[in-house]
């Protein structure tokens, strides 16, 4: 049933929409090389790169659209790309 005035009462429920399926290239983050500059974290349009409990950055492939801004902005080439094999 459509809500009154189509109001959406569930904040941020777009997480249902897994945009990871859009990807052509998959960024791979090498934590060994990572210097924690946070470039990939802050520039990701999806917020798909987050810090885990160990302080390592992880890419959430459910949402990563494969734009590769992270790879382009990584100063130490810790992020590389591979072709998604769908």
């Amino acid at each position: 049933m459509v809500t009154i005035a189509a109001i959406i009462y569930e904040p941020g429920n777009s997480i249902k929409n897994k945009t990871g399926s859009w990807r052509t290239f998959r960024p791979i983050l090498d934590n060994e090389k990572c210097v924690k500059c946070e470039n990939c974290y802050i520039f990701c349009p999806e917020g798909a790169i987050q810090e885990d409990e160990n302080g390592n950055f992880k890419i959430d492939y459910d949402y990563c659209k494969g734009c590769l801004i992270c790879m382009n902005e990584c100063p130490v080439n810790a992020i590389t790309k591979v072709r998604e094999e769908k």
Partner: protein, 386 residues
């Protein structure tokens, strides 16, 4: 005790907004509405009304600001006329689609071109399909009472639609009449405080209002507005009754007002202040032994189809007066609609009073004579110069 003030229609509207203790007013001046928003500015400036008054730069922004305020849970009021209402057009649909109980006074005035500041109904009739409840009042007392009622109707959870209270420019907006002003506490008791459950912007409850209505949901939202309109008929009647109990004034059944219908074969159907003139003529004719009736459409949207059918079931000559014209159809909106629901009856349509053309006693008599003699549905423009 109540106080009686001798005031204009626009002042009555301002008094009503004050009594409703509105939180936010957003308004832009336009003749003949201005004296309403001036009065409200005065109330706010004097501390008689505790409200935020946004002096917007256009009517489009007036309605936009009202929508923003109503969507935040505030009781809001604005007023406009004619070109201003036309400029709001886009936002009117958004207000109703977002189900925000905004109340607006419309000082009915003709639309340009040529520019004309005087009364007719073309402005609000052109917003017929905007999802707003439309109430057309006959006098200044009804203006005040209807605006108070409008909040009660609009904020009802079965309704949640905006309401425009339409009063005739100059004829009501600038005419002083004795108006009984109810006590503020009693109006507060009647209305309560606006506490929306569906739509209010609050960081503690982050909702998204006004999203993209994809084809999968849009049509349902339209149906919901239509259903709310249907429910509004009942609510309007109930509010009219409750208002009558508390304040001893009522307006027909809230949707329509029947005047001398019982014995009359000839019935005039009209909206707004001209109904007063028609009543006068009816009383005069009665003295001569002639019975003519009036069916005043008070609530034009939602349209009181059932009441109209019932009340006009015995009428033979039905004369519908319109202060608007649907170009290319040579009828007014009310004329078209009455004909559509009274299929086997003679329904003649009279285009009257456009751009402030005076509607005289003789004009009403001409209409009565014409409809009684007419053989078929016809349209006549009344009061045109040779």
């Amino acid at each position: 005790m109540c106080e009686v003030k001798v005031i204009t229609g626009t002042s009555a509207a301002a008094e009503a907004a004050k009594l409703a203790d509105v939180d936010v007013i957003a308004a832009y001046p336009i003749t003949p509405q201005t004296t309403c928003v001036e009065k409200l500015a005065e109330f706010v400036a004097n501390g008689e009304l505790d409200a935020e008054y946004i002096k917007v730069e256009s009517e489009h922004s007036a309605m936009s600001a009202c929508i923003g305020a109503a969507a935040t849970g505030a009781r809001t009021f604005t007023a406009t006329a004619s070109q201003g209402l036309a400029l709001m057009h886009e936002m009117l649909f958004i207000a109703s689609g977002m189900r925000l109980p905004i109340v607006m006074m419309v000082a009915n005035r003709a639309l340009s071109a040529p520019i004309n500041i005087w009364n007719d109904h073309q402005d609000s009739i052109s917003e017929r399909d905007s999802g707003w409840i439309q109430i057309y009042v006959e006098d200044n007392q009804e203006t005040l009472d209807s605006i108070i009622q409008a909040y009660k109707i609009a904020e009802n959870e079965d309704v949640l639609l905006p309401v425009m209270v339409c009063l005739d420019g100059f004829i009501l907006t600038h005419t002083v009449e004795p108006v009984t002003i109810p006590k503020a506490e009693r109006v507060r008791e009647f209305l309560g405080v606006y506490e929306p459950k569906h739509a209010y912007l609050d960081p503690d409850r982050p909702v998204t209002q006004g999203p993209v209505g994809v084809p999968d949901c849009y049509m349902e939202t339209r149906k919901q507005v239509e259903e709310a309109m249907e429910r509004a008929k009942k609510v309007i009647k109930e509010v009219n009754e409750e208002f009558a109990e508390r304040f001893k004034r009522k307006y027909g059944n809230g949707l329509v007002e029947a005047y001398n219908l019982d014995k009359a074969d000839t019935v005039l159907v009209a909206m707004g202040s001209v109904c007063g003139t028609i009543k006068y003529v009816i009383d005069e004719l009665k003295k001569e032994g002639k019975e003519v009736g009036l069916l005043r459409i008070r609530t034009y949207r939602p349209f009181p189809k059932e009441d109209v059918r019932e009340l006009l079931k015995d009428a033979e000559n039905i004369a519908v007066l319109d202060k608007n014209i649907s170009f290319g159809f040579n009828k007014g909106a009310l004329g078209i609609e009455m004909a559509s629901i009274l299929k086997n009856k003679k329904v003649c349509n009279y285009i009257v009073g456009l751009g402030g053309r005076d509607i005289k006693i003789d004009d009403i008599k001409t209409i009565i004579n014409h409809v009684e003699k007419a053989e078929d549905d016809t349209t006549l423009w009344i009061g045109l110069k040779e």
